[in-house]
Amino acid sequence: MIAKAPKSSRETILGKIRAALPQSAPLPELDATGPWQTFEDREARFSEVLKFVGGQTVHVKTVAEADAHLRTLEPWARGKVRCTMVPGLGDTTFDLKAINDPHQLENVDYAVLRGHFCVAENGAIWVTDDTVHHRVLYFIPQHISLVVPASQIVNNMHEAYARIKIGEHRFAGFISGPSKTADIEQSLVIGAHGARSLTVYLVDEL
């Protein structure tokens, strides 16, 4: 059991807040169907935005087709240390189950991972920690692919939050494109700390 900071600061802070309490104001209703932006062709919008943020979308019928495409990607072919969470799509060159310290994943060149659904408005994909052994697999490989059922594209973030249960995973999140920075003179550079490339496979039969 970890000792907590003295209760007194907690009481002091809460006491001060209670004393300051501004007039009550209602919490706005938030409806997934509200007057929010929707798209006639969600997939087209998703691909367009993902391209804008530096990623690419590949629509395929089957996992086998995705696999054939993956093998044509230079970063995958060049990568020595690879792993996949999607049977039949790419391969795993080391014993993933034997990894008990995430530091051992430091040298992964390419990882093929699962995404649950895509968001058309901003090119984001929802990922969770239950489909990987270590959450750092989304961030530490040099390149990643996310594999998502082609039918799973929502319009906007309101629809997105309506279909996920926040809190059921210790780690979950949206990923939109490869890692990037513009901290040197506002010049966009892809591949800051995380993945240098992101390829999203939208698969019909998954």
Binding site: I2, K4, A5, S9, R10, I13, K16, I17, A20, L21, P22, Q23, S24, A25, L27, P28, L30, P35, W36, Q37, V49, V53, P102, E106, E121, N122, G123, A124, H134, R135, V136, Y138, F139, I140, M157, A160, Y161, I166, G167, E168, R170, F171, A172, G173, F174, I175, S176, K180, T181, D183, I184, E185, Q186, S187, V189, G191, A192, H193, G194, A195
Partner: protein, 460 residues
């Protein structure tokens, strides 16, 4: 030193000052394009503002709810009344685990608390991992912008700095090359770190978790490898419901950098197996500001930086001229509220053009607050009496609305019709180095009112 003197020093380097101005205006334009591509943008701002207003009115309750749910998730929650206590809590966690090397992702709160020097005094190696922050840290400076920490530094200077510290080639200034060097240098630091520390973009009362947004992925690498994750948050980061995130995530990156969303929006609801996760909730003067009806809305800030990018004074004077953790319009409110004696010139670093208020995603009435604050400082009612802030009942901003509208009108008219020599005369510090942007013919307020009229009424 007061703001005008420091701004002068920045403006003296003409070439840099002009570049700075242009670079930020470019970010502002990207923000505009993003905002106008979302038809319901104004509704999103309004909703965000209302969610924040509600949250403030029940802040204590939501904090308790957050604490209870976070604890259920296995997160250890700490409370810090001030910067000192915050730093002590962080240090005690690190000491307990004999942490020698800490990696940090961006957190304006820890800047505010001066955590880095404190930890370094206690023998802890602290590495800022956001690229801009790392550059600033290696140069022994502070960030000059809350989203773009190194916006005041030219690529040649980054090259020099990396040559000295990371051994890159002398004279190299290509951003791709320099970023690659930083990536390799920081990867090694990530892998060796004993603990990771992050800020918090949003904390969710209903689920007891936190959300952290980055483009680089540095927060996720920083907390994904070591066994200890410490997240530090100002108490105002709270949101009641998970679905409130939909509104704020749509606004944040679009307002900040003109991106549809940040690359990584990570939701943390507990430690990894065998690891520890701590959240430190910090007051440090926030509950004082909460008491003040004129200024409490400044706590709604989601630190997007849009008000800085648009501010004619900030763009031309540089972030360091504010001598504040948070510069620009929002910093010119928050900082003097905390340290009025030292920062009494900041509310005057403002043309009252109102552009900050127009872009703020949570609709903080920035320029009105700056105006009110000037008056308080002018009358010396704030200076030396910061503690009394809450008790001061100024007749209210409302009674002066006409004055704002008038002043705004004058500024807009004069920018359009005043001859150049008047705007760019030696007495006008802000016109000094380059042309001011064209002033809109109508204020946002007028435009909005007109649009509403055309729509056939409806409340704004």
């Amino acid at each position: 030193m007061a703001h005008p003197a420091l701004a002068q020093a920045f403006v003296d380097n003409r070439e840099r000052a002009q570049w700075h101005d242009k670079a930020l205006w470019f970010v502002r334009e990207k923000r505009d394009r993003m905002a106008s591509s979302v038809p319901e943008w104004e509704l999103l701002r309004e909703t965000a503002s209302n969610i924040k207003r509600h949250t403030q009115s029940r802040m204590a309750e939501y904090l308790e709810q957050f604490e209870a749910n976070a604890t259920k998730n296995g997160i250890v929650v700490h409370w810090a009344a001030d910067a000192h206590e915050h730093n002590e809590i962080v240090l005690s966690i690190l000491k307990r685990h004999s942490v020698k090397r800490l990696v940090k992702s961006k957190s304006m709160l820890t800047e505010e608390c001066h955590l880095n020097p404190f930890l370094e005094e206690h023998g802890i190696d602290v590495v800022d991992t956001d690229l801009g922050e790392r550059i600033v840290q290696l140069r022994k400076e502070t960030p000059s912008h809350i989203v773009l920490p190194a916006i005041h530094i030219r690529k040649e200077e980054v090259g020099e700095c990396f040559h000295e510290h990371l051994g890159t080639e002398k004279g190299a200034s290509d951003p791709n090359y320099l970023t690659e060097a930083a990536r390799n240098h920081l990867r090694e630091r990530f892998c060796r770190a004993d603990a990771g520390l992050t800020g918090v973009n949003f904390a969710i009362a209903e689920t007891g978790g936190i959300v952290i947004c980055t483009n680089e992925g540095n927060a996720d690498l920083g907390v994904g490898l070591p066994k200890i994750h410490i997240a530090c948050m100002g108490m105002e980061k709270l949101l009641p419901r998970a679905k409130d995130l939909s509104v704020f995530l749509r606004l944040l990156a679009r307002s900040a950098t003109g991106q549809p969303v940040t690359t990584y929006s990570s939701h943390f609801h507990g430690p990894q197996p065998g690891c520890e996760m701590h959240v430190v909730i910090v007051d440090n003067g926030r509950s004082e500001i909460l008491k003040s009806p004129e200024f409490r809305r400044s706590l709604d800030c989601i630190r997007c930086g849009a008000c800085m990018n648009t501010c004619p004074v900030y763009r031309r004077s540089g972030g360091h001229s504010y001598e504040a953790t948070v510069p620009g319009p929002i910093g010119s409110i928050l900082t003097p509220l905390q340290t009025p004696e030292k920062h009494n010139s900041l509310p005057f670093a403002c043309t009252l053009c109102g552009s900050c208020t127009d872009v703020c995603p949570v609709k903080i009435d920035l320029h009105q607050q700056l105006f009110t604050l000037r008056e308080l400082l002018d009358n010396k009612r704030l200076i030396g009496t910061s503690k009394k802030l809450s008790m001061k009942v100024v007749s209210g901003v409302m009674s002066r609305t006409w004055l704002f509208n008038l002043l705004g009108g004058i500024a807009r008219t004069s920018l359009r019709f005043m001859p150049r020599f008047l705007i760019y005369n030696p007495l006008n510090a802000w016109g000094k180095q380059r042309d001011l942007p064209d002033a809109p013919k109508q204020s946002f307020r007028q435009q909005y009112a007109e649009r509403q009229k055309q729509k056939g009424g409806g409340k704004s």
